[in-house]
Subunit: 230 residues, 2 copies
């Protein structure tokens, strides 16, 4: 027990450990990291300090060899048989994923989806500060939703510049999203997380656009429904 | 031109073409199919009948060889140089994904996220019938939202059985999701599409659970923000 504590103690000093070289991590691994991050968070909440690749494999329903391959570059494992140091690995993955960078964001659209996102803890849990919301509907402009002031979309440039906004979460109808994206692009925002159900593209190549399609998991689900073996 | 029409004519008879053997398609390909499905739909809306793997590659920002590998098992390509028959491929992928199977679904939770999902066209576009919504809040029970009646959650079993519901979309707070999932499981529903931000698991192994985490694309986005080269 004493020995294990010593090992954990060593690995918890993440500040002193060398940074993970992001160029050595493939896109495929990156795309799987958010899921590892979620599971590691759950383990921390359960008070679990160490986990073997086989136990993590059972929980996450992926093979242990996949897990070892994916997490190889992160270190955080002591001697053979001790498993992964959960907090160390969580810290390393957080750092690589850009969690806790202190990004400041706005939500465009104060309809149902905008409110649903404003009401989650997913931003603050990742160290992201929610600045405000924008809409063009007089019925919602001026209201406060989940602690966020709703401003008229006409004030987008003024407020984003004054507040030093890093990125926008787009929840408008798809028809108006491209024009707003160009306005955000023109004012030099770093990125757009787009829930407007359209493939948004901006003219400036330096702006990150992540298009989220809620119908993609629906279709994977329909595939599983159709092909399930019962 | 006449020749191309003939080729398209041949391939559009999807009813006569042999079905795609789902056991021959890997999970990795399946997970990429919804994206192909979206792009093919856009092409059809644009009136595009044929597309080369290189043009599809440019639009989707994946390599042409990846596209050829992924779509190899679907057929739908004529002679070398003619490219893919868009409608044929769309039809084949739809069939494999279980689109237009006539599934009937209910939405659990009539809060912001439930309303946001009820207000999209993503279900009807895939031939899924939205039956009704459930909630426990007296303020919303009895209302009609986006054409859907909101019933009290106490009537879940009665209405799901009477209506022959195939699956449920879970949008409740995460704390109450597991208990409702067990009720759905007990009444023999086929699956749960879970937006309740928790890893839902039901005791019956024959029930498909798809856990959707809106924070996963957020984290991929944060990674790209942090590591972008500008």
């Amino acid at each position: 027990m004493e020995h294990i504590d010593k090992v954990i103690g060593t690995f918890e000093k993440t500040d002193e450990a060398p940074s993970v070289d992001s160029t050595r991590v493939s896109r495929a691994v990156i795309s799987r990291l958010p899921r590892y991050h979620r599971y590691l968070r759950m383990l921390i909440e359960e008070g679990c300090l160490r986990i073997s690749s086989s136990e993590l494999s059972r929980r996450m329903n992926v093979t242990a060899s996949q897990i070892r391959q994916d997490l190889n570059c992160f270190g955080g494992f002591g001697q053979q048989g001790y498993g992964y140091n959960v907090k160390y690995l969580y810290g390393k993955i957080s750092e690589l994923l850009g969690v806790n960078e202190g990004y400041r964001m706005v939500i465009i659209g104060a309809g149902n989806l905008g409110r649903a996102l404003a009401g989650t803890h997913m931003f603050e849990r990742r160290g992201i500060e929610r600045v405000c919301m924008f809409d063009n509907d007089p019925a919602v402009v001026g209201q406060v939703m989940f602690g966020l002031q709703v401003y008229h979309i006409d004030r987008l440039e003024e407020i984003c510049l004054a507040e030093g906004v890093d990125f926008a979460v787009m929840t408008t109808p798809r028809e108006v999203a491209p024009a707003i994206a160009e306005r955000l692009s023109a004012l030099g925002i770093k990125g757009i997380l787009n829930f407007a159900n359209t493939e948004l593209a901006v003219t400036r190549p330096d702006i990150i656009v992540e298009n989220v399609h809620l119908s993609d998991p629906l279709m994977k689900f329909c595939y599983d429904l159709k092909h399930k073996k019962v």
